[in-house]
Amino acid sequence: MEPVLAAVIGLFYAVSIYLMLSKHIIRILLGVAIFSNAVNLTIFTAGRIVREVPPIIPEGLEVLDKVAANPLPQALILTAIVISFSFFAFLLVLAFRAYQDLDTDDTDGMRLAEPKGEDLPPLGY
């Protein structure tokens, strides 16, 4: 199972990096969304994948009696999903607002903060 998932994750990373290398904000954002999903799958795989029961201790026992699935990666992924979702929502709004106000989603055209051909500072009085 792990090799298959590793290949899928590799594909995710490749696609997301390809998209993030684009000049257009919207493609970069799609890349970021896929990137964060690739990370979630990485955490999932890093926690070892087993076809086992949920980690619930049966009645009358004090410890698990057999190998159980690891619940921690799922908690980590849940945290990461919440965070990356909120960031993605913020970035979408920001990109839309930038598109409306700056009239472009091409990063080459977004030069307001660092204008081209600025004057050098004065060399003397």
Partner: protein
């Protein structure tokens, strides 16, 4: 009854049974107070006249709790508190050592001064948009990052202060801000996601996320796990957060766009969190791997210093000059990380204290000059020496501090770093640090020459706003700069203890896992 006793004994293996003493709550207070205050301020969104008072009160409380925490850490050693009573490594630990506690203290001081300055700088509209709640949540994230003992938790705190910093950065929504924030947000999000990838690979190899647990187990995994890869990924991810060359382009694109007090806090605090995370992971968790990467880190450090300060030489806008000075300071700090000796690391830590205070003060100084003359450009600013001698005095002291000249605080960390570089046998790194000092003197000296000394071309600008609040803020920051410059011994002692604490992590590990805990 006997069964109950056995059960209690079993529980003692998994849970902290003794209640946490009231005094130990000081570990989480620097995080809890800003979060509560931030939530409260969010609920009082419309009552803008209460915002400043509440935020300053809360930051003052945070500052005092940080003073208490640092005092306790210095006298009793690292202080640990584990959430939810689960014993580490299962519960999330907060572990304050000298490094984390001292950096948290300086960061809170800077934020407190920023909050005071913001009374004048941020008007009702900015407050309605949530300046103070964002500031409080950002400080909660920064404090959490400095004090947590769990690497996934560190990621969460990074995200907490990152999303608050987005809010602060875009506050006002002017066009250059939208432009700058877009670049800042996307590149920083990629940086923290890289950090998360590293954490997941680390978890896959170690099966634990507790930093003390990772530090004590690292030796067992050297043969089987790709620890050097993990260290290199940490270097890339945190190097991006710290604005190290060549992954620093988000900083000059964004730091000059927001309100000046926001720029001051970002320039002062945020990059140092990246440097702190580098120290924590590379020095404490993976020391041997840091050794392997040290040459790479050293070249990165030298490039960051030199290219950063050369960028500053080419700028006309004071805020952009300062953005590049921040970058070159990060390079100086990375030099100590590359050296990895006790002296080099204490130089790095000392430089972080110094840089937090001085960079914030320099940005606030730019804000005061803008308040008086209405501009940030070196072309038009002039004549402050004649019209406002106090501004000139602050500018001179802060310029000397940033360039590393006596009598200000920048001298001593550079002395430590240069000596460590020569002792290690890397004179070229010492040369890079000294050359950076010279170029910083040129860049900021020109600023002093043009904006302060140059005779005004027209009549002196008359400003309606009194810079009194700015003078208070600058005074509070300039005092430690001068005092540390004149009498650096106590700060050097703290920095040395902080460096010793991460170089030999046995005390840190011992305080997270006291005798009798499950192995």
């Amino acid at each position: 009854m006997a069964q109950n006793a056995a059960e209690a004994a079993d529980l003692a293996h998994a849970l902290v049974l003794a209640p946490t003493s009231a005094a130990d709550w000081v570990v989480v207070a620097p995080v809890a107070i800003p979060i509560v205050a931030g939530a409260l301020l969010m609920m009082l969104r419309h009552e803008t006249r209460w915002h400043a008072g509440l935020a300053i009160g809360a930051l003052l409380a945070t500052f005092l709790s940080n003073v208490l925490l640092l005092h306790r850490v210095l006298t009793d050693g690292p202080l640990v508190m584990t959430m939810g009573r689960w014993l580490p490594p299962f519960g999330i630990s907060f572990a304050a050592d000298v490094l984390g506690a001292s950096l948290a203290l300086v960061a809170t001081l800077v934020a407190l001064v920023g909050a005071v300055y913001a009374i004048a700088d941020i008007g009702t509209v900015g407050r309605r948009y949530g300046f103070y709640p964002f500031l409080m949540l950002m400080m909660a994230g920064v404090g959490g990052a400095f004090l947590t003992g769990d690497i996934f938790n560190l990621y969460v705190w990074f995200e907490v202060f990152l999303i608050s910093s987005f809010g602060l950065l875009v506050l006002g929504s002017e066009h250059p801000q939208l432009d700058g924030t877009t670049k800042y947000a996307i590149l920083n999000l990629i940086g923290t996601t890289l950090f998360l990838i590293t954490v997941s690979l680390l978890y896959g190899a170690f099966g634990t996320l507790n930093m003390a647990d990772i530090a004590r187990k690292a030796g067992n995994f050297r043969e089987t796990a790709p620890l050097t890869t993990l260290a290199a990924l940490f270097l890339l991810a945190f190097g991006m957060k710290a604005a190290a060359f060549p992954v620093n382009f988000w900083l000059p694109a964004s730091y000059h766009t927001p309100r000046i007090v926001t720029a001051a806090l970002f320039g002062g605090v945020l990059t140092k969190v990246g440097v702190y995370a580098l120290l924590r992971t590379l020095v404490m968790l993976f020391p041997l791997e840091r050794d392997m990467l040290s040459c790479l880190i050293a070249w990165g450090a030298a490039a960051t210093m030199i290219i950063g300060i050369m960028g500053a030489l080419a700028q006309t806008d004071i805020r952009r000059v300062l953005g590049f000075v921040v970058i070159s300071g990060v390079g100086v700090m990375l030099a100590g990380l590359a050296l990895g000796t006790a002296e080099g690391l204490s130089g790095t830590i000392f430089y972080a204290f110094h840089s937090m205070i001085v960079m914030t003060a320099l940005y606030l100084l730019a804000g005061v000059m803008n308040g008086l003359a209405g501009d940030y450009s070196l072309r038009s600013l002039s004549g402050f020496y004649a019209s406002h001698p106090l501004v000139a005095a602050f500018a001179l002291l802060l310029m000397l501090a940033a360039a590393g000249l006596p009598p200000a605080s920048g001298l001593w960390p550079k002395v430590l770093l240069v000596r460590a570089a020569i002792d290690t046998g890397w004179p070229w790194l010492a040369f890079a640090i000294l050359a950076t000092g010279l170029l910083t003197t040129l860049a900021l000296g020109r600023m002093f020459l043009l904006a302060i000394w140059r005779m005004p071309s027209g009549p002196a600008p008359v400003s309606a706003i009194s810079p009194r609040l700015g003078y208070i803020a600058l005074g509070v920051l300039a005092l430690p700069v001068l005092l540390i410059g004149l009498y650096p011994e106590p700060v050097i002692a703290v920095a040395e203890r902080a460096a010793a604490g991460i170089l030999d992590s046995s005390t840190y590990i011992g305080s997270v896992f006291p005798e009798g805990a499950v192995q």
